[in-house]
């Protein structure tokens, strides 16, 4: 039985392998890049805007609102990373409505790559917002004793991110495949619809968790900003 789309191999030479995961990922990337380029070719600031521009604006503003709700001020700085994660995973999971499509997020290599991106992005945003030493301070944040636990949690949450997304998507496909051999009439369609819901929720969860981790890394600068604000308010 096929567990992941990694096992469908089109072309192999040495250690370079072109499998279904890579092909689907590049297809989705191409679709998203070309689509975004086509839509943003003629942006207007009038009252009357085109339909697709309206859709994109809704997506961007709602992602911004979500990021700001979690506690990251200036979401424009983070939406490039978090919004891309969300849109890519959501697009991967949305297309299971097409027949013969296998989501690339159902392969552990894709989800591990995304989780490693989050793992790298946390220190990047932390250092660029608060400076090197303030970022290192978050590792010893309550006391110095917590240092090894903080490092372990950094690694284990990366693993959890990867396995959570992979497990959810893979299990959705697997359940449909098993049900197809038991009750092939209507039940697989219901499970497929449930898989669609799970895919959307997982895309949301993945990006929310990435936002929470980044917010934990930049908390020093947020605290400083709040202190400054309260000082100026008391002066007034």
């Amino acid at each position: 039985m096929k567990l992941t789309p990694d096992q469908t191999i089109f072309w192999q030479h040495g250690f370079i392998t072109i499998n279904l995961t890579i092909v689907t990922t590049w297809g989705i990337m191409l679709f998203m890049v070309v689509g975004a380029k086509l839509i943003t070719r003629r942006l207007k600031a009038n009252i009357k805007i085109s339909r697709w521009q309206c859709v994109l604006e809704m997506i961007v503003t709602s992602i911004n609102d979500q990021i700001a709700d979690i506690g990251l001020p200036k979401p424009e700085f983070y939406i490039g990373f978090i919004g891309t994660l969300f849109l890519f995973i959501a697009m991967c999971n949305l297309w299971i409505i097409l027949p013969w499509y296998e989501p690339p997020t159902g392969s552990l290599s894709t989800t591990a790559a995304l989780a490693i991106c989050v793992f790298m992005a946390v220190p990047y945003f932390g250092i660029s917002r608060t400076g090197f030493f303030n970022y290192l301070k978050t590792y010893v944040s309550p006391t110095f004793i917590m240092l090894p636990f903080n490092i372990i949690s950094e690694l284990s949450r990366t693993l959890a991110l990867a396995v959570r997304l992979f497990g959810n998507i893979m299990s959705g496909g697997m359940i449909v495949a098993i049900l197809l051999s038991i009750t092939p009439l209507l039940i697989p369609i219901v499970m497929q619809a449930l898989g669609l819901l799970t895919g959307m929720v997982q895309a949301y969860i993945f990006s929310i968790l990435a936002t929470v981790y980044i917010a934990a890394a930049v908390q020093e600068s947020i605290k400083k900003q709040k202190k400054l604000n309260s000082k100026t308010q008391t002066k007034i």
Partner: protein
């Protein structure tokens, strides 16, 4: 019983137990958290968006425990490393 059948029996039985027990407790805790969230939404409908968002994040965290168990049992059934080792020998 020879080695091959011992490995087969052990991994199939363990896979069943893993998914069984690993679904039971996350289901209990998910029920608890949903019940709590519903009663808090009923008490404070204004806070519904925040509660719902936190609930979804928490549910996904709890559900991922069940998913880990499922992944382990899938590995035991379909991609068993011990089985592959015995077959290759």
């Amino acid at each position: 019983m020879d080695n091959v059948s011992i490995i087969a029996v052990a991994s199939i039985v363990t896979a069943g137990f893993t998914t069984g027990i690993g679904c039971m407790f996350p289901a209990l805790s998910e029920g608890k958290s949903v019940a709590q969230a519903l009663s808090s939404i009923a008490q404070q409908p204004d806070a519904a968006p925040t509660i719902t968002r936190t609930l979804f994040v928490g549910l996904a965290m709890i559900e991922s425990m069940a998913i880990y168990c499922f992944v382990v049992s899938m590995i035991l059934v379909f991609a068993n490393p011990f089985w592959n080792h015995i077959i290759a020998k």
